[in-house]
Symmetry: C2
Subunit: 318 residues, 2 copies
């Protein structure tokens, strides 16, 4: 769960302060706490208990799913649903499904055959605790579980279960989320252009954030204009999110991040700071966040939570 | 594609000969050739081409998907649809989805952190060609693709996309297919009872075969009685299939199997022959096949292809 000290909202940067007057009174800390609690409760119910046979796989799935993730994707999903006049309950299966996809992708990315990370969110990675074989299977199981959870969504008049499944499968498949990880793996140690890096970031991060917002909207039976607005919002927030990740990898310590800092530099991975410099990276992230704000116009005050989330993601320090 | 020499149907065992008079004239070789060609064509269209960026992942996905699999699950799926009066086209997305799940599970099972196999179907395993990292991602991508392919199914009046997704997710999730692999991994080198071995086989093999038959029926808008019959059929054929696999691991050479023979003995894995002996294992497989035959009664002659498939699976030598 996010620590209050890390939520700086409009205070830490003059940019979001100027852009975000309308949500100055929005209590994001409280919003995130409430959403995290609700999402954790729902995930706990959707997943088999640790005692369910074979207990190893359910322990491994739950270990990573409840390892202190910030639940940003579920929060975006629920906030998107609310921006479209929907309820938290309607969008909860989608929020939980995207978190299962996110967690599976982290477990597999951390494997020795990929990024080879020992720590994630300040805890040992899945394969360090359960072994590589079970970690592969725990990822597989969470990926499969995501689609099962989607079937718990109530259908709406505009969006069927078919639409929801297609949305999640496309965003997390070989042309998006997995494409990003492949390009990332293949880019290590090679000269990468700004365009190639944007390709990776769009897929590795932006695709699932965008999908989270879209699925939230779809759960609330959004109009096509609202879906377009959420798509623009998710895309820009997602890209900004990854650029900030790149910056934090350089500026923060492993303790602050809860995972190995300086990893990108050590693995000669291209990042925004390494290609366009630190200042320019920050400017780009701010511009992207500004573009995300612009897309929220149709939602008026119902978009406050989304705006607060975008601001938080820009200004976070872990 | 299966070699004609390996399809012995009723000739090789007096048991199926007695039980299968009604489909003595059924040309299974021709049936399998036709279905394999159709399934390969459909899979080729559902999957992104090898040239689609990032090409590595699409090459890796297609390498294993087109490595000469016997397409038994798709054939069961299509035959089940036809037994219920449906068409091949209606059930093709389900047939392709189960094959993607099967192929992903083989890629991950072959990884060094699991069964550590170098050969599959006479060819190098995915990770031996593309590396462990890409093999993990190729499996992930095929798993995700399976759910995307399901969305191409035409809905029926009795079964929605929600039903299809739930069926596939449950059969391939942490309580079924993945549970089987976990129990299999954990059982290596330990004393395993016949009951525990049945638990593993039911999940590791029977679950997806049963799902293949059920999804085919659902694609053909089957009645609840037909679905029950297909469930019984798939369950019994699936168990028989795995017992025969256990027997072939002992009796055949690596060249005959196209994968490492004697692997179960070497890894001290419990098998039917190691627990109940070779003769008793064969008898159990025959009894299970007989039970599968019995469940086909409601389909009359429309069940001929399913009966021929069950007979083939019992009598195969690879």
């Amino acid at each position: 769960m996010p620590d209050g000290a890390h939520i700086q909202l409009a205070q830490s940067s003059c940019f979001p302060l100027q852009k975000s007057q309308r949500m100055a009174g929005f209590d994001l800390q409280n919003y995130l706490n409430t959403k995290t609690e609700a999402v954790n409760g729902a995930l706990g119910k959707f997943l088999p208990s640790e005692k369910t046979k074979p207990s190893t796989i359910h322990k491994a799935m739950r270990y990573s799913l409840f390892a202190g993730g910030k639940r940003m994707r579920p929060a975006l999903c629920l906030a998107a649903a609310e921006a479209c006049g929907g309820t938290q309950d309607e969008a909860m299966p989608m929020a939980c499904a995207v978190e299962c996809i996110h967690t599976y992708s982290l477990i597999h990315d951390d494997l020795p055959s990929m990024d080879n990370d020992d720590y994630r969110r300040g805890k040992l990675t899945n394969h360090k605790v359960f072994g590589d074989g079970i970690a592969v299977l725990a990822g597989d199981a969470l990926l499969t579980q995501a689609f099962e959870i989607l079937t718990h969504a109530p259908g709406t008049s505009r969006y069927s279960h078919r639409d929801l499944v297609l949305e999640l499968a496309k965003s997390s498949g070989s042309l998006q989320l997995i494409a990003g990880q492949v390009a990332d793996l293949e880019g290590e140690g090679r000269k990468t252009s700004a365009a190639q890096l944007k390709y990776i970031h769009e897929r590795k991060t932006s695709a699932l954030l965008c999908c989270s917002a879209r699925l939230g909207g779809m759960g609330a039976n959004c109009t096509s204009n609202q879906l377009k607005a959420l798509t623009d919002f998710g895309y820009h927030v997602g890209l900004a999110f990854q650029i900030i990740d790149d910056i934090l990898d350089v500026t923060q310590t492993s303790e602050q991040l809860g995972k190995t800092a300086g990893k990108d530099t050590a693995s000669k991975k291209a990042t925004y700071p390494s290609i366009v410099g630190m200042n320019r990276s920050r400017k780009i992230a701010e511009k992207l966040t500004s573009q995300a704000f612009a897309s929220l116009k149709p939602f008026k005050s119902k978009g406050d939570a989304l705006e607060a989330l975008a601001t938080y993601l820009l200004n976070r320090n872990k």
